[in-house]
């Protein structure tokens, strides 16, 4: 290709950032635009990773130095499919890489799931992390008990956020609107339900260990000590290092004497599935039944009902944390059974199975919502290898309107409040400065108006 290839990455989360970095490393001779629907970059690193895990948020320095500091542009507050179409991107770029993640949550499929007071844990996460689209959500924390459904790290994060003391919360960058509500929370007990047993819990042992070490928080795991024979055999023969550590930690938790004087407590319950979320006008409780672990026909371990007996757990808040799910993007193929863009090593495939020239994917929308932050690095390297191969082979069509000015003019026309890297720097500087004043890592701007005003150089009060 005669002129420098111009690449659009849609979504400035970890997958998009690792992709931009990998592309600059392996094929420096490209121009990259990182398009993002929020005014701020880094996706779930900013909006997902829990506020009390600040060390992980340091990854943003690496993202910055390997992307924006190396000439990759940030074009924030631009929504592909709304402000600009897929076809328009294809007309302006040599290639488009979709890194839009998995933006919605999986449903439980039980009655009462939509009652007021029953939320997707991801909504709670977005709210406490200052995602501007979630700040108006009204979480009622006036009941004494909350139930968290699910056993993954998001479940662990929301459980910690519901039990952390006011002082500890005040040292984090939790959004101010959430800090206020969490500080006046009446919740004393969080019951965490796992459908499967201790050996199958999806927590990392690090997150599980952390739950057992919270200041002023008692932890009970009454069924952590016993492992059914099927799970025991699995653990001894095929169990991962993490599963073994989790079982060890849980039996240690099970043996703990009750903690006297703890202000709050967490109860981890295993082999328990919700069958209904009930309440007159809002959540009043969850009906659950016991499960047992069996070896299914395909050889995998599965949770099956252990009987018809049910039990109720009264509560005023339910957070459902059973996984993320990607949503289709306009004008791009979508696999409705796996909720990903159909792809081969990152090349998006049309319904006939052939690659769609110039269209690529990375991250959760490519592989499904699995893995941790660093998983995206290898994933990005795979997609970038395909793109570089196609660039070198000259198989990508020259875009109709290849100049940077052309896309800038189009975006300016569609959206006057575009946020560039400079605007993001202004936002970040403002948040850090407010953080220094309050002895916190940062104080987030959590409304679009404030973010856009700060990005454009106005000083919010």
């Amino acid at each position: 290709m005669s002129r420098q290839a111009r690449i659009a990455i849609v979504g400035a989360g970890p997958a998009g950032a690792f992709t931009a970095a990998a592309l600059l490393r392996s094929h420096g001779d490209v121009e990259i635009d990182l398009l993002e629907r929020l005014p701020t970059p880094w996706g779930l690193l900013r909006g997902g990773v829990a506020p009390d895990h600040q060390e992980i948020k340091r990854l943003e320095d690496r993202f910055h130095s390997e992307t924006l500091a190396r000439g990759c542009r940030f074009l924030g507050n631009v929504e592909v499919g709304v402000d600009v179409s897929h076809a328009e991107l294809m007309a302006h770029y040599s290639a488009v890489i979709y890194a839009t993640g998995a933006q919605t949550d999986k449903s439980l499929g039980v009655p009462g799931e939509d009652l007021p007071g029953s939320w997707a844990a991801t909504e709670f996460v977005a709210w406490y992390n200052g995602h501007p689209d979630y700040r108006e959500l009204d979480f009622d924390l006036s009941a004494k008990r909350a139930v968290v459904i699910g056993n993954g790290n998001v479940a662990a994060d929301v459980t910690r956020m519901l039990t952390l003391g006011a002082e500890e919360l005040g040292r984090t960058d939790v959004a101010d609107h959430a800090l206020e509500v969490l500080r006046s929370s009446a919740i004393e007990e969080v019951v965490v339900l796992g459908r499967r047993g201790p050996a199958q819990a999806a927590f990392t042992s690090a997150e599980l260990r952390e739950l057992g070490r919270l200041d002023g928080v008692g932890l009970r795991a009454p069924d952590g000590a016993e492992l059914d024979p099927v799970s025991r055999e699995w653990l001894d023969t095929e169990g991962t290092f993490t599963a073994r550590k989790n079982v060890e930690l849980l039996s240690e938790f099970a043996a703990r004497p009750p903690q006297a004087g703890a202000a709050r407590s967490i109860e981890l319950r295993f082999l328990t599935s919700p069958v209904e979320i009930f309440g007159e006008r809002r959540v009043e409780g969850v009906t659950v039944r016991r499960n047992q672990i069996v070896r299914a026909e395909d050889g995998r371990l599965a949770a099956r009902p252990a009987g018809d007996e049910t039990e109720t757990i009264e509560c005023g808040l339910v957070l459902r944390s059973v996984g993320y799910r990607a949503v289709p993007l306009p004008d791009v193929p979508f696999d409705e059974s796996y909720f990903v863009l159909p792809n081969e090593r990152g090349r998006v495939l049309a319904s006939d199975g052939d690659p769609v020239p110039g269209v690529y994917t990375v991250g959760w929308i490519k592989r499904g919502p699995t893995g941790i932050l660093g998983t995206n690095k290898r994933d990005a390297e795979e997609t970038v290898a395909c793109l570089v191969e196609d660039l070198n082979a000259g198989t990508l069509a020259e875009p109709e309107r290849p100049g940077r000015d052309a896309v800038d003019a189009l975006l300016a026309e569609r959206n006057p409040s575009l946020v560039t890297a400079e605007g993001w720097r202004a936002i970040a500087a403002h948040e850090l400065e407010r953080g220094r004043a309050e002895d916190r890592p940062r104080v987030k701007l959590a409304s679009r108006e404030e973010l856009l005003a700060t990005a454009s150089g106005e000083q919010p009060q």
Binding site: E55, I56, T240, F241, G371
Partner: protein
């Protein structure tokens, strides 16, 4: 002396790339890489060179004598990951 990786690890493999003695596992492509929640340093092989500390983007790695209290489990955890593997397995990995 050894360095240890704590539970803050995000499995970015920057440390593996810079380790001169190949003592950080599992590595991409290893059978247990995908299921591992973090990476671990083999205390028998670590030469305390500090390269991984510099490479880690989330400051998850510490020298044995500088492990923060909240990560006091990490020394045993790293050692335990390699326990039961023979020296040959360790050095050939």
């Amino acid at each position: 002396m050894t360095y240890v990786i704590t539970g803050s690890c995000i499995k970015d493999d920057s440390c593996i790339e810079v380790c001169p003695v190949d003592c950080i596992h599992p590595k991409p492509g290893d059978p247990d890489f995908e299921t591992a929640e973090q990476l671990y340093i083999d205390p028998e092989l670590c030469i305390d060179c500090d390269a991984c500390v510099e490479a880690c983007p989330v400051d998850a790695i510490f020298a044995e004598f500088e492990i923060p209290e909240r990560h006091d489990y990490a020394l045993d955890l790293n050692a335990e990951f390699f326990a039961g593997r023979s020296t040959i397995e360790r050095t050939a990995a």
